[in-house]
Symmetry: C2
Subunit: 103 residues, 2 copies
Amino acid sequence: MKAAKRKRLEAAGWHVGTSADFLELSDAEQSYIDMKLALGDALKATRATRRLSQTDVAALVASSQSRVAKMEAADASVSLDLLVRTLLTLGVPRRRVARMLGG
Amino acid sequence: MKAAKRKRLEAAGWHVGTSADFLELSDAEQSYIDMKLALGDALKATRATRRLSQTDVAALVASSQSRVAKMEAADASVSLDLLVRTLLTLGVPRRRVARMLGG
DNA sequence: GATCACTATGTCTTTTTTGACATATGGTGG
DNA sequence: CCACCATATGTCAAAAAAGACATAGTGATC
């Protein structure tokens, strides 16, 4: 299995390697997950260019290091909401956030 | 107060007319609310072109009529998540959802 | 190989969001 | 006026997501 697909499934809350590969995601689910992955990557990139640690970001957005880690991993427990609000709080303009979501 | 601003504040969970007009929202909060409003409007528009009732949409996305009404109104109790997932489920392409968010 | 900074993951408790329901409001045709 | 349909609004129990914390993994650098 390709790493990209594995990542997607795991983001959807599935643990690949144990049982589920046949699992089919609807287009809507797929897009939703892709959006989260895109924002997670964007967050990681943004953080990198600013040379901030996850702990730094957590402080800036009033959250915790673990949650930032989960955001970047597009963990199933993080919402689009949290990702979007985090990026906006970091000063990423709305327009740019929107473009990230576009694919 | 202009209707647009009123709508924004109410979406943020504030009941205008009673006390709070001086209330200041950060850029991030403002953008976040604007995004929800944009998606709410988009949902209403999408639904209109397809000539569906809120009840119809509720059935399609496995929710309730009241929640659809709140989505369209960008009620403070609806998340970006729900709006995005609803639009995607209705078949609106990811790219288009993203453009809606851009402003 | 020990220490240190950073990141990942698991598990709690609390808070927020959700769907459901009831009910109110608004419009339309009989 | 009265049914009838669509939409709006309030409340609530249940579900999901949140922040917090502990802890484990990963690399440097010394």
